[in-house]
Symmetry: C2
Subunit: 330 residues, 2 copies
């Protein structure tokens, strides 16, 4: 069976050579274990951080060790009470075709109720991140203007739709005219901005947000965010959920110091990690499930086939090749 | 009588020539008015912002118009119910030796209870800013580490003492060895850093805060703050109260983009303006008065004599020539 290890720590944009596809013997399970066969694998921008050394909220990957991320797997053999052959589970798993597990921190998922891959997306961490970041930090009120960067991505597209469901005016920033069109036609955004063809982001945001920006859900950071920050209203809330524009930087990225804007407008800016809000997962999921049923929430996935294509799928995130959630089908 | 007007909008550090001392006729009061004679005048860094054009939380000063700030004045004549000759009032007043007033948004102050000048300092906006910024945004818990920049200044020195009263470890950053010594000996700070003689602020903060930084009360911004931010703990709170290091910048100040630090550590960073917390003034004052009585809060003032020296006193703020609150005695 195959596994994927960290071969080298990336410098700048991750390369295929930073990963290593290895062959290992298929594990045998003991009492109290089950054998899992990987079905779907989530690649996420935050994994870039785990490829580096250094203290963070989650341990770094070690060189020549198997990587891991959110995955869906099938139980193919079980010596573990509560899990039977044919069950599917979701959780943080290793990038291996097969692995033994004691079931810790795994959740059973129901492929009849929703497509299995959606438990990595809108019914998984993606949906929870969007809902909890927006509501716990952003606290949007009906009629307010919400701006989302990385708006065509996994989290961003869900954020925008939830903000619409909450009665906000929603403006999305994405990296192609096609994506911008999709924000409006598919997800119901009120306006969209293609940052790649926009010369003056400050002006573009001002035009798209005639009443200013009340909530900014930031997945990208950098100059795009500077333009948004130049248009914030008094008491604006900024959810710093991601900074994909900087994850591959080889030196400290520099930018304007915007403290005076925070002061003048009494802005709240807060870093967001979904794992800190575990006690709210249930509440979040009930809202998400309801909106899905009502058709207010559409989920888009970019599915890449083949376990060995995982590294390329991950690298493609940084060029925005995904629409919605990027998932590898194994 | 004399008045001080805005003569030109400063470029960079304010100059004496940006102000104009003019002679005006002493006003005569009508029914429902009182005549006020200026006693004390507060100069504050935030006034630098009002000298510029542009939208902010408070209207800019107009060219060739009288400036204003927090002042204490004596009632020398009154046609206004509730105010008698000999009373003293505190509030936002014009930089004039005498002015007519309808008493709007003025508060009577008692020079018997506390020195009149203290109503511009620890018993006024300074104390309210320190208490409310620290407690409403910083929410320090006993045992946590609180870092204060501009620590020997009006707000900073009070913040540090309140944090001590709340049971925190307190580290102050100031601009001379003498000030650092005073932080420790007079105000009870646990440690102090002279940023002018410190080469590596990140390392200095790390050494002064072996358990990391939980709350950062920022009055200065810039590189000093970068060093603090490199040492924040998970769930740190940053009160962005001032950015005096940038107020005189003639181009957009640049610095490292620290969004990844906000994300990794789930940091909350919030701009603070005391006027937004008016409903808490009473509660804040009762705490401050209690700590003053108990001797837990010492108030330092730098008193400059003479109305005509107001512009120089203001300019001196940017070189840190004040200890504690800078006040002009008229």
């Amino acid at each position: 069976m195959k596994a994927i290890q960290l071969n080298s720590r990336p410098v700048g944009v991750p390369q295929l050579s930073d990963f290593k596809l290895v062959t290992e013997e298929q594990p045998k399970i003991k009492a109290g274990e089950m054998l899992l066969k990987a079905s779907y694998l989530s690649v996420d921008p935050y994994l870039r951080g785990r490829m580096m050394e250094g203290k963070s909220y989650i341990a770094p990957f070690e060189l020549n060790e198997t990587m891991s991320s959110g995955m869906i797997a099938e139980v193919v053999e079980s010596n573990l009470e509560g899990f039977s052959k044919g069950d599917f589970v979701s959780g943080m798993l290793e990038w291996k075709e097969y692995q033994a597990s004691k079931g810790e921190e795994l959740m059973k998922v129901d492929g009849q109720r929703a497509p299995l891959s959606s438990y990595l997306g809108v019914l998984g961490m993606t949906g929870l991140t969007a809902y909890l970041g927006l509501t716990e930090i952003g606290k949007p009120k009906a009629g307010e203007t919400v701006v989302v960067s990385g708006a065509a991505g996994a989290v961003g597209s869900v954020v925008g739709q939830i903000a619409k469901a909450l009665g906000c005016r929603v403006v999305g920033i994405a990296g192609s005219d096609e994506k911008v069109e999709e924000l409006k036609s598919n997800y119901g955004f009120d306006a969209g901005i293609n940052y790649k063809t926009t010369e003056n982001m400050t002006k573009a945001i001002a035009e798209a947000c005639p009443e200013g920006v009340d909530v900014y859900f930031d997945n990208v950071g950098g100059e795009i965010s500077d333009g948004v920050m130049m248009n914030v209203n008094q008491f604006a809330r900024v959810i710093v959920c991601g900074a994909i524009s900087m994850y591959n930087a080889t030196s400290m990225p520099m930018g304007p110091r915007l403290d005076s804007i925070l002061i003048k407008n009494s802005v709240l800016k807060q870093g967001f990690i979904v794992f800190n809000y575990a006690e709210k997962y249930g509440e979040a999921m009930s809202h998400i499930a309801k909106w899905l049923q009502e058709g207010k929430l559409k989920s888009t996935e970019t599915i890449v086939e083949g376990f060995e294509n995982t590294p390329q799928a991950f690298i493609d995130l940084f060029e925005g090749k995904n629409k919605g959630k990027m998932i590898v089908k194994i």
